[in-house]
Symmetry: C2
Subunit: 772 residues, 2 copies
C-alpha cells in the first residue's frame, strides 16, 4: 500500500508545476448517493464510501479521469467498507481507482465480482483495484461459474489485494482478450496475497488465467509480479497462461497444489519465482511448459515432490499440428539459470507422452511431438540426499540441448546426461531457504546461448555481469525485502482484522439439550466432549464449522442413536463443515444416513474424519450429493456394520472431470454386511490434466459385503486417478470383483488377502467420454 501512495505522490509531484492537485472528496452513504457521485464525477474526484456494510449493491463505476487526475472510489477507512449480499462492481472508462473495499459474506449476481468492463465495447483502461479484499465470496454451488476479478481493456491493475476462499467454478482472476480493445493490455497483477483456494475436484479452478484457447493467439503482455500464492490448491494449474508475451516475475508459490503452466500462447517470461513444496505432498508442482519461445530463468524450486504433470519442471510433449485447444509442441524454449533444491525427479521431459494409447484415443489426442530447439543450460540441481532419477525422460530428448548444467547428487548414480555435470560442491544460504553453490563452482564455464546476455541479473536482482554462476542465485540479496516476508503482499489493513482469532474451547455435554446448544454455540475449532453414555438425537446435527466430537472416556464409546426421519443424516455436513468424530457408537434404524452433505448450495467444501467409531444400521454411511465436495474423508479404526450402503461419492456423472472428494482414506477399518456401494467413488470424462481423486484403503477387512453391489463390484473407483489398495482382507463377499483398477493411471493393489470375494482386475484403458 505504502509503495502505491509513494508512486502516486511522485506522480503528483511531477505534475505539481503545471497543475494544482485539488482533491474533491465526496462522501456517499448509500448506493443512490454513490450512483449520483459517479454520474457527476469529474477528473480528480475522490468518492468516499462511508464505513459499514453495503449490502446488495451493484456498483457501475463508469467515469473518465485522466492521467494527472484519476477518479477514486474508496473506503472511508480501508477494510471497513464491506460489500456483502448479492453485489458486484463493474468499471468502465479511464483512470479509475478503487481502494480499500472488502467483499465478504456474499456473492456476485453476475459473471464476476469485479469486472473491468460493462460490455464488449465499454471497458475500463488505466484503472486499478488496490488495497482491497475478496474473501469467500462464493456462489451457492460449485457449478455456478464466476470470476472474482475479470480484466478487460488495457493498462489495468490489481495490486495489494487479498483474495482467498473461492470454491465455485471459474478462475479467481482472469484476463479477457476477446476484442482488439483488450489485447496488448499490459495489465499488472502485482503485490497481491492470494490466500488459500481449496481444491475444487475438477477443472476450472485456476487462481489466475490469462486468456483462453480461443484467444490464445493474442498478444497480452500481462505482468504478474511480486505476488504470494499460498495453498492455491483449486486445480492442477495455479496460473494458466493462455496468451502471448506474458511475464511472471518474482512471485512466491507457497505450498500451492498446482503449477505455473504456459497452457496456450507463447513467448512468456518466467523469471525469478520461488516454488516451495512440502515433504508430505506430491500435489505441489512447479513450472509446466507447453508451446513456443518461453524463457524460464532465475527460478528457485525447493522441496517439491510433484511428478509428471506436477513435476518441478515439466516439459510436455505436444500433439502434432495440435488443435487450438490441445497441446502445442514445445519449441524454442530456454530454461536457464534456475535452481532445484531437494526436489524429487525435478526435470521431466516428454510429460504427457501417450503414444502407447494410440489405438484407443483419436489421433488428435496423441501427444507424440517431443520438444525441439529447446535449450536447458546453466541450471543447478542440489540434493541433500541423492535422487535415484533426477531427470525423467518420458520420450526422446533429442530436440533438447543440455549445456553446462550442474548437479550435486551426493554421489548417487543416475542415468547420465550430456550437459549435466556431477560436482561435489558445498552450498551457502543466501536467504531463508534459498541456497547457492559455494565458490568451488565459480570457475565452471557457462553456456552462452542466443540472447543469454539478456539474463542480466539473478533472482535477487544481483548483476550477473561480473559473477557468472550456474543456478538462480549469484549472491545474497542487497537492499531487497525477503520474498517470504508476507507483510509486503496484500492490503495493509487485512492482517489486522484477520488476527482477531478467538480462543477455542471445550464444551462438555451430558445430555441432548446441552449437546445441541454446544453445537450451535461452538466456534470453529472447538471440541465437544460427550460425558454421558448415550444421546438420542431426533434431528440432524448441522456441522458448518470445524468441530471435534468425542467421548469423555478413551476406553468406552459414547453412543449416539439417531432417530430422525428417513433419508436424513445424523450429521449434516454444511459448507465449511469439518467434523472429527472420535470414539462414538453411531446407530440408526436402517432408514437414515450417518453422514450426508447438503443436497444443494454446497458453496464450499466439507471434511470428515471418523476415528475409533462404530457405525451401524444406516441406509448410507456417507451420502455425498451432486455438487458437494470434500477435500478429506478419513475413516480410521472404525467398524461399519449392517448398512444398506457404504460411502457413496458418485453423483458427478456429467463426465466433465468433476468428482465428489479429493482424498478418501480408509485405514484399519472393518466393513461387515454393507450391501452395496461399499465404496462408490466416481470421476467421468477423459481429461488428462485432472489428476485426482485419491483413494487409499489399507489394513482393513471387508466381509459379507456387496450382496447387492452394482455390477458385482465391491469397491467402485471408476475414473479415479490414484487408487491404492494394500494389506486388506476381503472375506466372503458375494461379488464378482473386489475392484477394477485403471492400469493407465496410478492404480495399484498389493498384499491383499481375498477369500470367496471375486478378484481384483486391472483394465489398461477405461472407455471414457472425451471432454475436448
Amino acid at each position: 500500500m505504502k509503495k502505491y501512495f509513494l508512486l502516486l505522490n511522485s506522480v503528483f509531484l511531477l505534475i505539481s508545476c503545471n497543475e494544482k492537485s485539488t482533491s474533491n472528496a465526496i462522501t456517499v452513504n448509500d448506493i443512490i448517493e454513490l450512483n449520483s457521485a459517479i454520474s457527476n464525477a469529474k477528473p480528480g474526484d475522490d468518492i468516499v464510501m462511508a464505513n459499514g456494510d453495503w449490502k446488495d449493491v451493484n456498483i457501475k463505476f463508469v467515469a473518465y479521469g485522466n492521467e494527472q487526475k484519476p477518479i477514486t472510489l474508496r473506503a472511508e477507512t480501508p477494510g471497513e467498507v464491506r460489500i456483502t449480499g448479492t453485489s458486484d462492481l463493474k468499471l468502465a472508462g479511464e483512470y479509475l481507482i478503487v481502494n480499500g473495499l472488502h467483499f465478504t459474506n456474499g456473492s456476485s449476481p453476475s459473471s464476476a465480482v469485479i469486472d473491468f468492463g460493462i460490455s464488449q465495447d465499454s471497458v475500463a483502461n488505466h484503472s486499478k483495484i488496490t488495497n482491497s479484499a475478496i474473501i469467500d465470496f462464493n456462489k451457492a454451488q460449485r457449478n455456478q461459474t464466476d470470476l472474482w476479478v475479470l480484466f478487460k481493456g488495457r493498462h489495468n491493475e490489481l495490486d495489494h489485494c487479498y483474495i482467498a476462499g473461492k470454491s465455485n467454478r471459474g478462475p479467481t482472476v482472469r484476463i479477457d482478450l476477446a476484442g482488439n480493445n483488450s489485447i496488448k493490455n499490459y495489465h499488472k497483477i502485482i503485490n497481491n496475497y492470494f490466500g488459500p483456494r481449496p481444491p475444487k475436484g475438477g477443472p476450472s479452478a485456476e487462481t489466475i488465467q490469462l486468456g483462453n484457447s480461443f484467444t490464445s493467439m493474442a498478444p497480452s503482455y500481462t505482468l504478474v509480479a511480486n505476488n504470494y500464492f499460498e495453498h492455491c490448491n483449486g486445480e492442477v494449474e495455479v496460473i494458466s497462461s493462455k496468451s502471448n508475451f506474458n511475464e511472471f516475475r518474482n512471485n512466491v508459490f507457497y505450498k500451492s497444489e498446482g503449477s505455473l503452466v504456459t497452457r496456450h500462447g507463447n513467448y512468456c517470461m518466467i523469471d525469478g519465482n520461488i516454488f516451495i513444496g512440502d515433504v508430505d505432498s506430491e500435489q505441489i508442482g512447479g513450472i509446466r511448459l507447453i508451446g513456443t519461445g518461453h524463457w524460464v530463468t532465475n527460478n528457485y524450486f525447493y522441496n517439491l515432490k510433484g511428478q509428471t504433470f506436477r513435476s518441478p519442471l515439466a516439459v510436455m510433449n505436444g500433439i502434432p499440428k495440435s488443435p487450438l485447444n490441445r497441446y502445442l509442441q514445445v519449441t524454442d524454449v530456454v530454461v536457464a539459470n534456475n535452481s532445484w533444491v531437494n526436489c524429487v525427479s525435478p526435470w521431466q521431459f516428454g510429460v504427457g507422452s501417450n503414444t502407447d494409447q494410440k489405438d484407443i484415443l483419436p489421433k488428435s489426442e496423441i501427444r507424440s511431438a517431443t520438444p525441439i530447439r529447446t535449450i536447458v543450460a546453466n541450471n543447478l540441481i542440489y540434493n541433500d540426499k541423492g535422487d535415484k532419477q533426477p531427470i525423467i525422460t518420458h520420450d526422446s530428448v533429442d530436440g533438447v540441448s543440455f549445456k553446462s548444467n550442474v548437479i550435486n547428487n551426493q554421489g548417487m548414480k543416475f542415468k547420465d546426461l550430456d550437459g549435466l555435470t556431477q560436482k561435489d560442491f558445498g552450498t551457502t544460504v543466501t536467504d531463508g531457504v534459498i541456497l547457492m553453490p559455494n565458490s568451488s563452482l565459480s570457475d565452471f564455464e557457462l553456456y552462452n546461448g542466443f540472447e543469454f546476455d539478456q539474463i542480466k541479473a539473478d533472482l535477487f536482482g544481483n548483476s550477473r555481469t561480473d559473477n557468472t554462476m550456474v543456478g538462480a542465485v549469484v549472491g545474497k540479496p542487497v537492499n531487497k525485502k525477503d520474498m517470504m516476508d508476507i507483510s509486503q503482499y496484500g492490503p495493509d489493513w487485512y492482517a489486522n482484522t484477520a488476527s482477531k482469532n478467538e480462543m477455542n474451547k471445550t464444551h462438555s455435554v451430558s445430555n441432548v439439550a446441552e449437546f445441541t446448544s454446544a453445537i450451535s454455540d461452538a466456534i470453529s475449532g472447538d471440541t465437544i466432549v460427550l460425558s454421558a453414555e448415550r444421546y438420542d438425537i431426533n434431528s440432524s446435527i448441522k456441522i458448518n464449522k470445524a468441530i471435534t466430537i468425542l467421548a469423555a472416556k478413551t476406553d468406552a464409546k459414547a453412543t449416539i442413536q439417531y432417530k430422525g426421519a428417513a433419508k436424513t443424516p445424523a450429521f449434516e455436513m454444511n459448507p465449511k463443515g469439518q467434523l472429527t468424530l472420535k470414539n462414538v457408537q453411531l446407530i440408526g434404524d436402517n432408514e437414515q444416513y450417518a453422514f450426508a452433505s447438503l443436497k444443494n448450495n454446497m458453496s464450499s467444501l466439507y471434511n470428515l474424519t471418523v476415528l475409533d467409531c462404530e457405525i451401524s444400521n444406516f441406509d448410507y454411511v456417507l451420502k455425498a450429493y451432486k455438487l458437494s465436495f470434500s477435500e478429506n474423508i478419513t475413516f480410521k479404526s472404525t467398524q461399519i456394520k449392517n448398512c444398506a450402503n457404504g460411502l457413496d461419492l458418485s453423483e458427478e456423472t456429467d463426465d466433465k472431470g468433476e468428482y465428489n472428494a479429493e482424498n478418501i482414506t480408509i485405514d484399519n477399518c472393518l466393513f461387515d454386511s454393507v450391501a452395496s456401494n461399499v465404496v462408490d467413488y466416481y470421476r467421468g470424462g477423459y481429461d488428462e490434466s485432472t489428476i485426482g481423486g485419491n483413494l487409499i484403503v489399507t489394513n482393513s477387512t471387508f466381509t459379507n459385503c456387496g450382496a447387492k453391489a452394482e455390477e458385482g463390484l465391491l469397491l467402485n473407483t471408476y475414473g479415479i486417478i490414484n487408487v491404492n489398495l494394500a494389506n486388506n482382507k476381503f472375506l466372503n463377499n458375494n461379488v464378482q470383483l473386489v475392484a477394477r483398477l485403471w492400469g493407465a493411471k496410478n492404480n495399484k493393489a498389493s498384499d491383499n488377502e481375498i477369500t470367496k470375494s471375486g478378484k481384483i482386475i486391472v483394465e489398461e484403458n477405461l472407455p471414457l467420454k472425451l471432454m475436448y
Copy 2:
C-alpha cells in the same frame, strides 16, 4: 537503387564527423580469390567481382561488418556478373551487402539460391541483397524443391531486385522463423519487381511465403512494401503470410493469378496495396483472410473477377478449434477504407464453408466457424455496370459489423445489407485506374471504430484528418510517384538488358532439311511456313521455344508423316516449348506419339495449340509425363482419328494436389475411333485451396471411341475442379459413362447429345485422399 544510395550516403554523412569513410575495394576474378577476400574481409571492405560468367560457384559470404562499415560484395558492373551453372550464395555474419549480381542459366545445388544463413545457428543479420536478379534459375524438375531467396536471422533486406520465372516447387522467397534467432526479424522486402511466375499445377508455388504453419505463432514483423508483382501465377497464394505482425504496404499486384493471403498467423497490416485484374480472367484474386486481428485498410481493387477463394475480399470460415495447419477462425479483423471498382461480387464472407460435407469429411476438415468480432467499415464499392450480387455470404455474417459502407451499383438491386448504403455518386480519377468518389459523398458520416484514428492517411499518403471519405483515396497523389510506373521497381540495370528484343521472322521450308534447320535456327516467336505438301520426318522435332508451324496454303493442309521410333513423339515438347500447329495433317504408323513432353527434366512448362489439323494413326495423341506441366493445351477445329489413346494427362498420381495441365480446351473437334484415354486428366488429393485444373470441351463430336476405356469411362476428369462439357455429340461410343462429374466442385454439362454412349453422371463428393 538511387533511394538506397541516398540512404547509405546519409548514414555515412551522419557518421562522417567521427569516422573516416574508407572504402577498401578488392577486385576478385575467380572463386579462389573471392574466398580469400571473404575470409580476410574487414568492416568497410568492398569486394568487387569481375564482370563475366561465374559458373558453378558456391559462395559463402561469411563476414562481420558493422553498422558504420558494412562489407560489400558487388558486381564490377551491376548485371554484368552472371552467376550460372550449379551455383548458390549463402550469407552469415553481420552487415553484409550483395549488389548487382545476376543469377541466370543455372540452378542451385542446395535448398536455396540465396540463403541468409549457413546453419541453424549461423545466420546473417542486418544484411541485404540489392540491385540483383534471379531469372529462370530452375531445378531440372518441378518436384525438386528450392527457394530462391531464403531469409533467416534478423533485419535482412531484399530490395530493388528482379525475380522471375520460377517453375519448380517451392516459394520464390521465404522467411524462415524456426529458432529464436529468426523471430522478430523486421526483414524488409522492398522495391522489388517480381516478374512472371508460371502456374505450377499444384501447391507450393507462392511468390512470397512468410513462415509456415509449424512456426505460425512466431512474431515476424516482416515488411513487404513497394513491390510490383506481375503475373505471379504460381498458385492460389501470391503472398502467403504464415506468421504474426507482418506488414504489406503499397504493393501492386498486376494481373497475378492468386491472392494476398493471411494463411496462418495473426495481426497483419495490409495497407495501401493495389490489385489489378483482367476482364478475361477469373483467376486473379485480391485479399483472402484467415485468423485474428488483421487490419485491411486503404487497398484498391480494380477489375477483379475471381470468386470464392479468389474473390477480391475473401473472408473465410474457420475450423472450430482448428489444427495448427488448417483454418483458424476469423476474429477481430478490421476492413476499413478500401475501394473496389468494377469487381464482380467483391465481398465474400464465409468462404470455404463446407458444412454440407460434414458427413464425408472428418470433423477436423469442416469449416463451420463464421467470422466474429469483425468490422467492415467506411469502404467503397463502385461499378460502371450494376452487379447482381456485390456481396456473397456463404454462411452467416452475424459476427460481422458492417458500418458506413457505400456502393454505387448503378441502381441495380441486390440483397440489402445493413451498413452498406446505396448512393448515386460520381467519380474522379486521381491517378491511372484509381478513382475516388466526387464531393457528393463528402458529408457521408464515417464510422469511428476502436483505433480507427490510426488510419491516418489514404492510399497515396494524403492525410485523412481533414478529409473524411469512404474508400481508399481522399485526394490525388502529391509528390508521389505513380505506383504503376514500373521503372521504380527492381534493379536499375535490368530494364536495359531486357529490352534487347530481336525481331521475329518467318521461315519458309520446302523440305525436311530446311524444316529441321529452321526449327533449330528459329528464335522464340518465329513462324515456320510449310510450303511443300508433305514432310517425312524420322526423328522427333524438338520444341523448346515459341514456334508457329503452319501450311502455306490456307485451303490445303500440309502433311507431316512421322516415321520415328515407337513411343517417340513427332513433336517433343521441351521446357518453355510453345507450339502452335495449324492446318497440318499429322500421321503416324500407330506406334508413336503425336506430341509428348520430355520424360524428365521438364524444368519449365510447355504450351500446345493445335488448329485446323488432322491427326491420325498414333499410339497417343498427347502423352504428358509425370512432372511435366502445361499451362494451355488447346485443340480447335481438329480431327483426331484411329489412335489407341487420346490426350493423356494423368501421371500425377501421388495425390498431393499436383496435375499435368492448367487449362485444356477442346472446341469444334472430332474424335473418331480413339480407343482409350480419349481425355484422361487427373488431379488427386483433397486440397480445397488447389482450384485447378480446367477442362472445356465444346461443340465437338466423339464417335466410335472408348472401346478400351478404363472403367468404361470416355472422358476421365477425376479430381479436376473446373469441367465444362457443352454442345457436344457423343455417338456410338461403347462406354458406360461419357463422364463422371464432381458435383461439389465446378463441374457442369449442358446441351450434349448422347446416343448409344452411356451417360453423364454427377457424383457429389468424390472420395479423395486427405492431404493434411
